[in-house]
Every structure is written in C-alpha cells, then in structure tokens.
Symmetry: C2
Subunit: 383 residues, 2 copies
C-alpha cells in the first residue's frame, strides 16, 4: 500500500516563554490541517510524540488533551521513546495505515523544555538512561562524551574533528527561519566555547528547545492528489540495550545500523541514492557516528570526511546532511524532533525548502535516536 506524507507544519523552535506544551501542539496541528485543507472529519487517528510532559509538568493523557482542542472522538495515541519519540510515532503511524482500516492520520510531536532550571532539565533528560547511569551521576553530555572519547581513541581523532558538525549545522540553520539559532559559527568558536563534558564543548551540544511539528500521512488517493506529496518508501525502528555498559562497542550505535539495513532493504535503494538526510546530531559526535552507522561513510572515516564539509549546502557533494540545521542549530524540542526531520525531507523533496533547497533531491533519509542509542528510527522518503 502506497503511503505519503502530504503536509507539514512546525512552530518556531526556540525559547517560547509565552506558549504551553499544548499551545505548541495546537499550533502545529492547526497549521498542517490548514495547509492540507483537511477537515477534522478526514483524520482517522492521531499519534502524539512527547517525552517530558509528565516529568516536567505532571502533564499526561495528552491524547485526550489533543482530542479536546480538536473536538474529535478519534483515537489519539501518545508514544514515548525518549528523543526518538517523534520518529517512533511516525513509524507506528505508517504501519498503522498499512492495516488498511484507516486512511489518513496526523502525527504531531511537541516538547516544552525551557520552563525549568538547567538542573531540572538535565535530571529529566537522564530518565532516558539506565538506572545505573542515573545513579552514577552521568548526564547525556557525559554519555556522549564517553562515546566521543572511544571513537577518537579508536581512530586517532581529536576534538577539532568534531567541530565541523556544528559549524555546518549552524550555517544551515541560518537559512531556516524556524530554527532556534541563526548565527553562523567557526570551528574556533566551538573549540573556544565552554567545556561541558570533555571532549564536548557547549557548541558540540544541541540546545534546550520549545517547539512542535506535525505531518499528515495518507494513503487516500483523493487526499494525496490534492497536495504535494513524498512517498514513504520504508520506516524501521530498532532497539538496543539502555546501558552503554552492555554494548559491544561505544563507537557505533547498533540500533542505527539495524534500522538502516532494514530501511534500505525494504526501499530497495543504495546509500548513494540518498541526496538529502536529517540525522540525529544531539551532539557533534552523534552526527559522525550516524553517518558511519547509516552506511554513508566507512567506519572510522567520519572524522576526516566531516572536516571536508562535503555534506554542507553548496559543497557540491552528493549528499547534504541536516539542511534544517539539525538538532544542534534548528533546536531539539524532543518529541518534535523526529517529526521535524520528516518535515524537512518533505519540504526538500517537494521543493518547498526555500533558501535551503537542494536541487535534484529524489530520495531522503531521516534518522532519529533515543537516549544513547537504545532506540533508533530510520525512514526513507522519495519524491
């Protein structure tokens, strides 16, 4: 059954002091319904991705809260897979449509993160790690720093090989009006910025962000033909151990490798067929590992290749990565991130990406990770 993304809307990503979690969700939902010119009655179900509503503001049962503002009685499911909540919700919605009993669903992700102190948000985020990791005082910068250290040691890189990820993604975000940051930075800026968890400086880390994003997915040909559409060729979720301790390697993410193999296999595509990709750059090291684990680059060559800026807009390379600005510079409102990745590919594949538009983009890949790699989602879209 052929299923398509037929519309996308996101809120501004950033520090949105005057908007609540459900203000943001509502803005994204109403925005995408308006763009697709769909009546509420044409939506068969809603998938809602959110990680921290319960922990940060005692705000659960979001399905019913969405049903309230939309005045609908359809199923609304809340999905939580830490930072992969959006990707998992999208993949589940896609599979749901394959059942044949439903035709058009809405997937919305939202997160409200800036209303609490840095200590509170750090503690809430570490809920996505193992109990032992929590108890040992680790934070997510700490976990990814260990992965970065392992990778650098194994392949002979230094932290200057990580910095180009942030430089590139800030350059892209400067072209994206919805991004949290619009300021370009240099490698030296990254290396001069405050150290968070050696070797990760603050400019190696994605920010704390408020925001929401929504897509409509449909296999109803009457609905699809009225909108610009991107074909969902495959979408796969894979899992791994929650603890880094129980992994065979710290310098790769097995869940990404498995999800990518399954996604490329189902889509019947080669890595070289992908010309635009949104990958999960929660930290600079994460984009490098992602590029290798997705099979775009050989294991160990990431540090070198990222430094050549071949995945930057305007580089002339075959594959441009994180045209939205990525998590690093577009921002990382957790539940929204996986949906924004799909939305960015949709805009690229349907030529609605304005200043960021990649020419001749035929296939796009989105890659969303939960925690330190306990969950990964890989989705391939075509135009």
């Amino acid at each position: 059954m052929n299923t398509f993304v037929i519309g996308y809307h996101q809120t501004q990503f950033g520090e949105l002091w005057n908007k609540s979690l459900f203000d943001l969700a509502q803005e994204a939902v109403h925005g995408v319904l308006k763009k697709t010119q769909l009546e509420h009655s044409q939506i068969d179900a809603i998938f809602f991705a959110n990680m921290l509503g319960g922990v940060l503001e005692n705000n659960l049962h979001g399905g019913s809260k969405i049903a309230e503002f939309l005045h609908v009685h359809i199923p609304v499911y809340r999905i939580e897979s830490a930072c992969a909540s959006g990707g998992a919700a999208f993949q589940l919605a896609h599979t749901y449509l394959q059942s044949g009993s439903k035709k058009t669903v809405l997937v919305v992700g939202a997160e409200k993160m800036t209303d609490v102190s840095p200590e509170e948000i750090s503690e809430a985020l570490i809920s996505a790690a193992s109990g032992e990791e929590q108890e040992s005082g680790l934070t997510f910068p700490g976990l990814y720093a260990m992965m970065a250290r392992a990778y650098m040691d194994e392949y002979g890189y230094t932290h200057k090989h990580l910095a180009p990820v942030s430089v590139k993604n800030h350059k892209h975000a400067a072209l994206n009006p919805n991004a949290q940051f619009h300021r370009e930075i240099t490698e030296q800026d990254v290396l001069n910025s405050a150290m968070i968890a050696d070797p990760l400086h603050i400019l190696d880390c994605s920010p704390i962000t408020d925001g929401a994003a929504a897509v409509v997915v449909s296999n109803d040909s009457n609905v699809v033909k009225k909108n610009k559409s991107a074909h969902i060729l495959s979408s796969h979720v894979a899992s791994d151990t929650i603890s880094l301790l129980n992994r065979s390697s710290l310098s790769s993410i097995k869940a990404t490798q498995i999800a990518a193999e399954n996604a490329f296999s189902e889509a019947k595509l080669q890595r070289k067929d992908i010309s635009v990709s949104e990958v999960h750059d929660c930290f600079s090291i994460a984009e490098i590992l992602a590029m290798e684990d997705l099979g775009f680059w050989k294991k160990g060559e990431g540090g070198k290749r990222i430094s050549q800026y071949e995945t930057m807009i305007g580089s002339g390379g075959n594959l441009v990565v994180n045209t939205s600005g990525g998590l690093k510079a577009a921002g990382h409102p957790i539940g929204a991130t996986g949906i924004k990745q799909i939305g960015e590919l949709y805009e690229q594949l349907t030529h609605q990406a304005d200043n960021r538009q990649i020419l001749h983009a035929k296939y796009g890949l989105a890659h969303n990770v939960g925690g330190s790699g306990g969950t990964a989602v890989v989705t391939i879209l075509g135009n």
Copy 2:
C-alpha cells in the same frame, strides 16, 4: 486477517515492596514467553503500557529497558493513555498486526505505584486530568464523585446503590489468587468505610497497586495452533474532552459509547452475545456507567440492576462482569490493567480460569478507560 491472543501471564497484584517496575515487567514477559513456548526471535515487536514511570521515578525510555533484559533489537513502543494505556497498547498492537508485515507481538503493561506517599500518588494520577481540574485541587475520587452525584441526582439513587459493585468484585477477587484483595465485604462494610469524596467511600475506590501483565498476540497459524487461543473480533479506541466541564453529560462517558458501537459493529455481535466482561471499575460508579454506556443496560437502570447482583458469578445471569475482581479488588496497577482485562477474558474463553470459570463463555468484552473518560478502549474476543 485473523488475529489471536495466544497466551497470558501476570504477576501478583498488590504492594510488592521488593520488586521494581522493570522487575515486574520482566516477570510478566518471561512468564508469557514460557507459557507460549516462544523463542525471543519469534517476537516481532513489543508494546509497553506504562503511565507513571516518568513522573514517579524519572524512568522513561522503557522500550530500550525492555530490549535490554530480553536481549532483542526489535521495535519496542511505549504507549501512554493514562489508565487506558494497557487497552490502547493492545488495540494498537492488534492494528499493527493487520499491516501484514509482522506476525507475533507481545503486549506488556506494568506499573509501580506503592513506593511513594499517598500525596505523591494522588498528584501523579491527576496528571491525567485537565490543567484547570489540577489547579482547582481536584483528585480522581473527586472527579468520579461529581459523576456519581450527577448520576444519582438524575435517576434517583443513593450511595447504597453503588456499593454492590464493590461487594461483587471483592467476591470475585476472593477466587483469584493473583488479586490484591481476597477478603469478601458487605454493602454495610462499604457504607461504613471512610468517606473519600462524597458519595464515594474508600471501599468504592480501586486501590494503589504494583503489578504487570503480558499477552502474546499472533496471526501466525503455526504459532497459534500450538496454543490455546482467543480470537480478537474487534478492538476500538475513542477519545473525548479531557475536562468534565466540556462534556455534554456527567452521567455517561461518550468515549465508551463510541468505542462500544464501533466494536460491536465490527464484531457483528449483539450485546446479548457477550457472556463475560471486564469493565473499568476504577470507582463503583464507573462500573455502573460502563454497563450503561456499553449498552448492556439501559441508561438509568444501572443502580437498580447492580443491586440485583445479576452480574455476579453464580447468579445465573447471562453476563458475568469483572470475574478477575476488577480494578476494585484485583487491583489497578495502571499500565497493567488493560492487559489484565484481556488476559482474564482469554483465560475465561480458553477455560483456564479455575475457580472463576464461567461455563459456556463464547464471547467476552474488555473495557478500559483513561482518566475521567478522555479515552476509552473496547475489545471483543471470541473462543
């Protein structure tokens, strides 16, 4: 596509001081895998229902935590719809299998509720209500008390018409070794017990419970034929406004009515075809409203009919309700509840319910509610 429940396992429900959330989930998962004699490699995906892990113990990303103890890399989805999390996870798993790409999935629900103070658990539970309801100081007993008061006023009942729900369900729980309570009670016990939120006494209220429950669902004929099975005839989720304030009636739950209509319609059955049902009796009034909203009883006659004990084991009635003891007396470990309801029907329909066994049970119905009715799930199984 014909899909079946092929196995069930639950932990003891109760105050389980020495077991954690994932100890409980693990026990239920390993139990059902053992009973169905399935290898881990035969499970294609897992749906995990849990409401409060994040709020109570900063414990999110449970999908990866389950992948860790099972040593699997398959998708594991966490679903949260407040007290309907288990039912929603089951319904989603059922729909997932209709996609045809997966054959056998495991659905596990778990909740760990007794490690915190009564004040903390009350505050956590009210996360499933609207912001205005939270801010006004309401609790769930308070919300259901308003519904009870509206129902009693509308149809001329007093609180003694609610008490038979608890009496019946305690009697059933006394026959269920996994139930939290094994003590039979009288109507007078209910009316003499401490008042929580007028007209609801403490014995009108379901308890705080730890526990987990797991079912395996499959459409793989090779797997199905090796196990006793119950056929899933239909499963539907419906939503309503989160706020009581925005509902047209306080004395019925519209989401239940819609889910029931859809479930009976798809199953092509009449109400009279159902001989065993697990309904959502979080409070005594809730079972009465459920019986009416599901269409078993006419609107307004519930107070009278429950007092005749026609739905009690041994009454000779055509429909027996909450043979497990219901939420009231088997216990209500939130994420597990919707799965336990399915499991109880499975055991009844496959003649594994021991002392609680209903003779000649051909069709069973499970009814799971989130919050004050913002979500409802109705599932019909056949033998």
